[in-house]
């Protein structure tokens, strides 16, 4: 087997520089790479482009990078939970590229799988398709969307082994698997890093081949954005 384990988040983020394009897994605050984000804040990298479905909230997730004005451009599908984001966007400090969610996922997967571009019906006839190549297949119109290119992908899994194999939990899976191998270097942080051989080969969601570095994450807060409950009857 090929060892992917690094000792800590510092080692995991070695080589991250200002101006880079970063992919970050997660949906809302669910399944985000909390350790990597905290380290990006510490590293004070600037002018980064972030590919992430959402932009966190004011005081958590990518909101932490926004606070420090480290982000030059966001590529997301939904950014509605973040006042600082809105302020920076409306003032022109922050560049924003809004992309349909399924297109966002597939642009990651295309990068992972070596597809240069793909045709999707999403966004046809809207401003999302403006300036893009469109094409008809069997009477339906599609938009040609290119694969993403990124320097680093930061993903968060539930369990991982030292060979980089990953298992996600619940809806914390979301974009994380699609971003593995979609950047030059993919860094996985996990809640539980186990020795190789402990994960059953049949239950692995993402094989280690897509991962360059893996580390044991710490102090996961796992904030809940919308705590909704029902009453016991």
């Amino acid at each position: 087997m090929i060892h992917k384990k690094v000792n800590n988040v510092q080692e995991a983020l070695k080589g991250v520089k200002s101006g880079m394009t970063l992919m970050l897994g997660g949906f809302g605050l669910c399944g985000i790479p909390e350790n990597a984000i905290a380290e990006l804040v510490k590293l004070e990298v600037r002018d980064v482009t972030c590919i992430s479905n959402n932009a966190g909230i004011d005081d958590f997730g990518l909101g932490l990078l926004l606070q420090k004005k480290q982000i030059k451009k966001m590529i997301s599908s939904y950014v509605g939970e973040n006042d600082e984001f809105e302020r920076q966007m409306l003032s022109g400090e922050l560049e924003v590229e809004l992309t349909p969610q399924g297109t966002l996922a597939e642009k990651c997967r295309a990068a992972q799988a070596g597809f240069p571009a793909f045709y999707t019906p999403a966004g046809y006839g809207t401003e999302v398709s403006e300036g893009k190549e469109t094409r008809e297949f069997e009477g339906k119109m599609y938009v040609l969307e290119p694969a993403f290119k990124a320097d680093f992908a930061f993903v968060k899994a539930w369990k991982g082994d030292t060979a980089g194999n990953l298992i996600f939990k619940g809806t914390a899976r979301n974009f994380n698997p699609n971003m593995c191998g979609a950047a030059t270097i993919t860094v996985a942080e996990v809640e539980e890093l186990v020795p190789v051989g402990e994960l059953a080969p049949n239950t692995i969601h993402i094989p280690g081949v897509f991962i360059q570095r893996i580390f044991q994450g710490e102090n996961y807060e796992k904030k809940i954005e919308q705590r909704t409950v029902r009453q016991r009857s």
Binding site: L98, G125, G170, A172, N178, Q226, R227, T228, R230
Partner: protein
């Protein structure tokens, strides 16, 4: 006139046996509460879950199990989790039978606008553009008019579009409308609402054929 729960209740009648259904944020989320118990249905949320159940009991919330509205949820027996790419394979591949979502405007040609007010509100389209571009059965849940009393059921959308020519049905606080042949067809009136009131509140071309029944909800 219907309130939000009334709209959800009426839309719940559109859910047929064996349907996989995607519910948008807002009124659509309420629909799950009103589907008849003898109907086999599974709710998909595009963040990666099929077989959603009700909200968890207090103290049983799991940050790793949410819906696309970022609300904590539970799952029912038979549920599954999957990644975003597979989630949109279900949507794009037409494996989801019914999409219910909110809108800011709907036009008589089936166009829908629900993601952006230029210069004011730019939250993003989330999964809505993928949903409306692929679903064959799209029901919009919305108020018939805005807070200033202006119609949101239009000849043409004024806001940036989410999708073109895709809406099949609209259920509002006033009426049930079918969208076909570039017109709105009035199917039902909300309890206590007259055809005249609906006409007045509708800017788009409204076709009224014969007696319009009141909704049974």
């Amino acid at each position: 006139m219907l309130d939000k729960n009334g709209i959800a209740k009426r839309i719940a009648q559109e859910v047929q046996n064996g349907f996989y259904v995607n519910l948008g944020i807002g009124i659509p989320t309420l629909v799950a509460n009103y589907v008849r118990e003898d109907i086999e249905v599974e709710f998909q949320s595009e963040n990666g879950v099929l077989g959603m159940g009700p909200f968890p009991f207090e103290g049983e919330e799991d940050a790793d199990i949410i819906n696309a509205g970022k609300q904590t949820i539970t799952t029912l027996p038979g549920a599954s989790f999957f990644d975003s790419s597979m989630s949109f394979s279900m949507i794009r591949g037409k494996h989801i039978h019914l999409t219910i979502l909110g809108a800011m405007e709907v036009a008589e040609n089936g166009d829908i606008a629900n993601w952006k007010i230029p210069g004011k509100m730019v939250k993003g389209m989330g999964g809505a553009m993928d949903l409306v571009a692929s679903a064959e059965n799209i029901i919009v849940a919305m108020m018939h008019t805005n807070k200033r009393g202006e119609s949101k059921i239009l000849k043409q959308c004024s806001l940036p579009l989410t999708g073109v020519g895709c809406v099949t049905k609209v259920v509002t606080n006033l009426a049930v409308l079918e969208v076909k042949n570039n017109t709105f067809h009035l199917l039902e009136r909300a309890p206590g609402v007259s055809v005249e009131e609906i006409k007045k509140a509708t800017e788009g071309t409204l076709i009224i054929n014969g007696e319009i029944p009141e909704m049974l909800i």
